[in-house]
Every structure is written in structure tokens, then in C-alpha cells.
């Protein structure tokens, strides 16, 4: 099952289960979604529940939030999350803070979803990861699916959730196929929000990643395995709330940590994970934490520069080796 089909089926099932759920955004209806995630939904649910909006992020996001205040369960699609910058006021101020400000009277069950992170060759304004941005904000939940199972289970959970959820997909994963269990195809299937998944068990080094980077981390783990390093790969799934206990438990086992993300390094997801590990498992660390992130520059257009600006499998392999090899003499000394 492709990630695209997983997302499409999750939308379809949740719209079918709850008539309060509706989808709005640019090109979600007649065009069938800019990336065809909403394919067939207009036909099935009609233009009242699959709303083509004009190109007015601030306007239609605000309308969605207002609808959530008043009892509906909107799904707002951003053609890419880069465009959510034009509507961030509604996501942060209107959606995330209302429950708190109203002392629990106004909940905002809304999902903001769309592709996030670097695509290919689309330049600085279309290639940015917003995981850390939204994850910094109290009142929001931030999910980043990797596989088809993630996409289905997390999107269904997000739609059913009573709080605003920022759901960060990845354009380059839409067409990728993953095996799915029979269980995850059940219409009642849901994944817990705030729980990471150990994609691959290991004992020498922990690698945390989310979205597309999980795939890279798994590839790196394979390479490392051939060189005798056993890497444990954690698919974070949820950036906020962050599954600190899974991460720390893993680090206490492997004693080494590599964090991987496509976003900018400063104040990134990796920074938060490092802090958590330093705070909670400092005594268990046998090597400095390695943090792999996108280059601290706006995304360049030229393909060769672009490749240098995002983490690659080799970067992960190198960092893991550094963490391990460096620890050998230290361990010997101890």
C-alpha cells in the first residue's frame, strides 16, 4: 500500500464514520488534491464536504478553526506546509491556545495536514521542515508519519483527536509502498499519539528519525550492520508530544545517540532530544550525542547543493561510526 493510498483511505473512512468531518483546501475537490491525496472524495462526499477554496490560506484556515470551535471536525489541507506560513496565526493563536484561554470550554478538533519538508529542486521557499516550529507550541500535537501504517493510523488518530493536530506528510514518500498488516487495514485501526516505534532493534547506537529520515536511518543501520555495528532505529512518529521514555530507554541500552532530521539544526527536534537525553540519561552516555540536520541555510536550488543541504545516509553512517569508534578507547580506558 502506498502512503498516498493510506492517507486517502484514512480520510475516506473517517469522513464516512463521522459526518462532522470535512476536508477543505486548495485543489482538494475537482483537481482531486494537488498530490491526489483526496482522490475520489469529492465524488463520494460531495462539494459540501470536500471544499475547494480560493488561494487564501489565512482566510480558509481561519474558517476551518471557526468551524472547529463550533462543533465540526475540519481537516484543512495545505498544498504544502510552506504555505501554512500564511496562516500560522490561525494555527498558533486561534487553534492552539483556545482551549487554554477558554479554560476548557472551547476545544478545537482540527487537523492541519499536507506535505512538509524538502521535496526535489523546488527551491528555498518550497523546501522546509516545520516539525520543530509547530512542536514548540503548546496546545498543538505534531505528527510525522513515515510508512503507510503510520500514515493510516496516525491520520485516523488525528481526525478523532479533540485537539488541533499538525500532520506533516512528505511529498517524496507519497508514492512509496510499504507492507501493511491486516490489522492496520481495519477501519477501527488507530495509532497512539505520542508513542514512538522501534523500527529496528539494536544494541550499539540509537538513531532517532522521523518522516523520510526513518528510511535513511534504516538504510544506514543496514550498512552499519555489515561493519559490525548494531543500530537501533526509532521512528518518532510524534514530535509533540515527544516519546522521551522510549528514546531514553533505548539510549540507556545502547549508550550512544544519533538524531536525524531534515530541518534546520538550531532549536530543532534533535536539540530537544539531546536535551532530554542529557537531562535524563547523562550518566549512560558513552559518547557525545551526534546531531544530524539540514544545513543551516535556505534550501539552494542547484541539485548538487541541495543534496549537500539535507542529511544523507552516509552522514548517518559516519556519525554512528564516530560515536562508536570514539567510544572504544574511552571504554578501554575505563
Amino acid at each position: 500500500m502506498t502512503v498516498r493510498d493510506a492517507l486517502n483511505s484514512a480520510l475516506d473512512e473517517e469522513m464516512s464514520a463521522d459526518p462532522k468531518v470535512f476536508l477543505m483546501g486548495e485543489e482538494v475537490g475537482e483537481y482531486q488534491g494537488a498530490y491526489k491525496i483526496s482522490k475520489g472524495l469529492l465524488e463520494k462526499y460531495g462539494p459540501e464536504r470536500v471544499l475547494d477554496t480560493p488561494i487564501t490560506e489565512a482566510g480558509f484556515t481561519g474558517i476551518g478553526v471557526g468551524a472547529a470551535y463550533y462543533g465540526l471536525r475540519p481537516i484543512v489541507e495545505f498544498m504544502t506546509f510552506n504555505f501554512s506560513m500564511q496562516a500560522i496565526d490561525h494555527i498558533i493563536n486561534s487553534a492552539a491556545k483556545s482551549n487554554y484561554m477558554s479554560a476548557g470550554q472551547i476545544s478545537v478538533p482540527i487537523v492541519f495536514r499536507g506535505p512538509n519538508g524538502a521535496a526535489a529542486g523546488v527551491g528555498a521557499q518550497h523546501s522546509q521542515c516545520y516539525a520543530a516550529w509547530y512542536a514548540t507550541c503548546p496546545g498543538l500535537k505534531v505528527l510525522c508519519p513515515y510508512s503507510s501504517e503510520d500514515a493510516r493510523g496516525l491520520l485516523k488518530a488525528a481526525i478523532r483527536d479533540p485537539d488541533p493536530v499538525v500532520f506533516l506528510e512528505n511529498e517524496l514518500l507519497y508514492g512509496e509502498s510499504f507492507p501493511v498488516s491486516a490489522e492496520s487495514l481495519d477501519s477501527s485501526f488507530c495509532l497512539p499519539i505520542g508513542k514512538a516505534k522501534i523500527e529496528r532493534e539494536g544494541k550499539d547506537v540509537t538513531i532517532t528519525a522521523f518522516s523520510k529520515m526513518v528510511g535513511y536511518a534504516l538504510k544506514a543501520a543496514e550498512i552499519l550492520a555489515k561493519e559490525g555495528i548494531s543500530a537501533e532505529v526509532i521512528n518518532l512518529r510524534s514530535i509533540r508530544p515527544l516519546d522521551r521514555s522510549t528514546i531514553n530507554a533505548s539510549v540507556r541500552k545502547t549508550n550512544r545517540l544519533i538524531t536525524v532530521e531534515e530541518g534546520f539544526p538550531q532549536h530543532g527536534v534533535g536539540a530537544e532530544i539531546c536535551t532530554s537525553v542529557i537531562e535524563e540519561s547523562f550518566g549512560y552516555l558513552d559518547a557525545p550525542v551526534e546531531r544530524i540536520a539540514g544545513a543551516d541555510v535556505p534550501m539552494p536550488y542547484a541539485a548538487n547543493l541541495e543534496r549537500m543541504a539535507v542529511p544523507q545516509v552516509e552522514d548517518i553512517v559516519r556519525a554512528a561510526k564516530r560515536a562508536c569508534y570514539r567510544s572504544v578507547p574511552l571504554a578501554a580506558a575505563a
Binding site: 486548495e26 485543489e27 475537482e30 483537481y31 494537488a34 462539494p47 475547494d52 480560493p54 488561494i55 487564501t56 489565512a58 482566510g59 510552506n82 504555505f83 506560513m85 500564511q86 521535496a119 526535489a120 529542486g121 523546488v122 527551491g123 528555498a124 521557499q125 518550497h126 544545513a295 543551516d296 541555510v297 535556505p298 539552494p300 536550488y301 542547484a302 541539485a303 548538487n304 547543493l305 549537500m308 543541504a309
Partner: protein, 433 residues
Amino acid sequence: MSFTSTTKFVQPLPLNTTSARSNDHKPFLDPFKPTSFFGSTNKLRFTSLAKSHQANLHRRSAVVAVSEVVKEKKPKSSTNLLITKDEGLVLYEDMILGRAFEDMCAQMYYRGKMFGFVHLYNGQEAVSTGFIKLLKKEDSVVSTYRDHVHALSKGVPARAVMSELFGKTTGCCRGQGGSMHMFSKEHNVLGGFAFIGEGIPVATGAAFTSKYRREVLQEADCDHVTVAFFGDGTCNNGQFFECLNMAALWKLPIVFVVENNLWAIGMSHLRATSDPEIWKKGPAFGMPGVHVDGMDVLKVRDVAKEAIGRARRGEGPTLVECETYRFRGHSLADPDELRDPAEKARYAARDPVTALKKYMIENNLSSEAELKAIEKKIDEVVEEAVEFADESPHPGRSQLLENVFADPKGFGIGPDGRYRCEDPKFTEGTAHV
């Protein structure tokens, strides 16, 4: 309702014989008669809403009067032509350049020489040429993601634009911008902006600067004008309205040019906009609003002349709606399945390049051979641009870390206590920043 005397649409010029709008008696102000508006055959879902509302119809503006002048200038004799031969040749060359360049982009995209989103301008050349060829070098242009041709019209060399698209270091932004982000300080191309409406405030700021320089910095001769290009889809965006307001309020030297090609990717203008006549939003903000046939470079040019003149004279902004059409999909990745083939064919028959050629020849402004020579010359320019781009080097590794700040010290201080830019690895592009 008597529209014959007030319609923005003047008598079509001879070059425009197949115009869908050639029927001047057809009232096109009723937004709920979709088939009568523009050439779009898209059907509105709602059939019975409000009655027509032409409150602004009588608030005619100075610029509108200019359109009437165009009507009177109906060129029947060679002594009453809309352009001189030289002007005509300049316009023709610019339009051919725009067309040939974009056609080449499509080829190069499919050959994998350029990547990402590439939005081509085919069909809309009369707008870029009609406006920009009236500008001075100091005047500025702000564009959208469909920006190659605006840059070309403004004088950015084809090779620099092509090279940019190839992601090469000789590109106008050294391969750091890409298709949607063309900038040229030298030519005052203030950027292609990839978000809808995003460029409008930037353009308004540029116009503000001209006024500021004149009035605050006492540069009396600063009469620079800014032209902001954007599409019909943008006119539903708040930034558009915010900037119309401020530009009128402060009488800024700006022309808001709507390239209404009737489609925002797959969203028909008629499905997106409560009152599809965009030009009417000008008077609502206290500035003239003009509607012009954007498939006719001479009509565009006439309206542009007056609007730019107004701005230059310090009389404030103008909103110009150019009815045009893109001959290709939204981008090269768009399967373009929603637009009616009949609608496409109708606009294809009104190709602005062919129309100008016809006008030039019929009015003895140019010979077939002369125009052919221009086409040949442009073909060579575009070929040369491709060769240049192809042979140009990829950006060096060091470029990755350059230009983030004008001052390299913006990268801050490294763990060794020194500025990161002083680290030799910084210029090698291998520093950890």
C-alpha cells in the same frame, strides 16, 4: 443597462478578429452569467444569486478614458497607427523571445536539464511586453512564480535566466534561486515570489521607496515606478486588498497588473471569486480600475502607458486587469485536465504573437522577411543561452554557505571563540555552522 458606452472593452483592433469579446454589446458585468464572462466555459454551480451590481460602473476613471481614446485611434490609415515601426519591432522581438524561451524551457525540463516547478508564460506575452517595454531601467518589476518572461522583458539576458534554470553558477541568482525566484538588482527585477500574493507587499514597498526618496530624501528626479504582476487567483488573497488600500492611501507610484488567465491551477476564476470583475476593486479603494484585452499587446500598451504615466506623475496607483490565457498547464507538472479544449482553442486562435505579426504586416509596418529575421535571431539567442547554461559550471561547494547573510559574521562565533567566517573551512564550504 447600457454597456455599449461604458464597457472597458473598446473596439477590437484588426489584429483581434477572432476575439471572443468582439461582441461589444454583450453585457459582461453580470458575474452570474458564466458563459458570457471572458472566454471561459466553466459553469458556476450556483445559478440564481444576487442581481447584477454595477454600482461602480459610473465611477469612471481617467485611465478608463484612455481606453476610449484607443477606440478612437482605430487604425485604418497608416498615418494613424498605434505604434511606429521601431516600436513594433521591439515589441515583436520581446514577445518572440518570451515564447521561444519558454518553449525551450519545456524541452529542457523534459530532458532533465531543469527541475522542480517550472511555470511557463506562453499565451500571456502581450502583458509582459505591453507593460515592461515602457519601463525605464530604474523602474522595478515584481513577479510571481511565472517569472522568466518578466525578467527577460526587463532586460535580464536569456543566458542568465536559462543558466539559473539549469542550476548553474552563471545563472542570474547563481543557481540559488531557481525557476520561481528570479532576481536581478541591475535590472530592478525584485523577484519572483512563489506564494500567492506574497509579491504584492514587496512591490508596494518598492513603490513606497520611490516616493520616500523623492519626498523625504529630496531626490526630486526620482520618479521610478513599480509594476506588480500577479494572477486572478491572487485577487482573492488578503494581501492584495491590504496593498491596494495602502498604495491608494499613500498615492504610491505602482501599477497592479492582474494577469487574469481565468484559471488558478485547476480552480476556475468563476468558481473562486464572488465578483469576477477584478478591475472593479480599484475604484473600491479609490484608484482607477481598467479592464483590457490581455491578448492584444497594443491595447495593453496603451493602458499601460497611461497607468505608468499616472504613477510617474505622482498621481497614484492603478489596477489593471488584463484578460489573458495560458497556453500550457499551470506548470510543466500539471496534466491540465480541467480546462475545456474548446476554451483553449478559442484563446489559441487569439495568439498575441500571431496577432501582432498580422497587424505589423497588414499595416505595412514590417515585412514577413523582416519578422522572420527576428525569429531567427531569437532562435539563435535561445540556442546560445542553452549552450551557455549547459557548459557553465555547477556551483562550487563553497557556495553552499555563501549569501545567507550580507555580513558573513552573521554566522556567529564558533566554539573556538572566533567568527565562523574566519575559519578557513568556511570558505571551503566544509565548516560546521
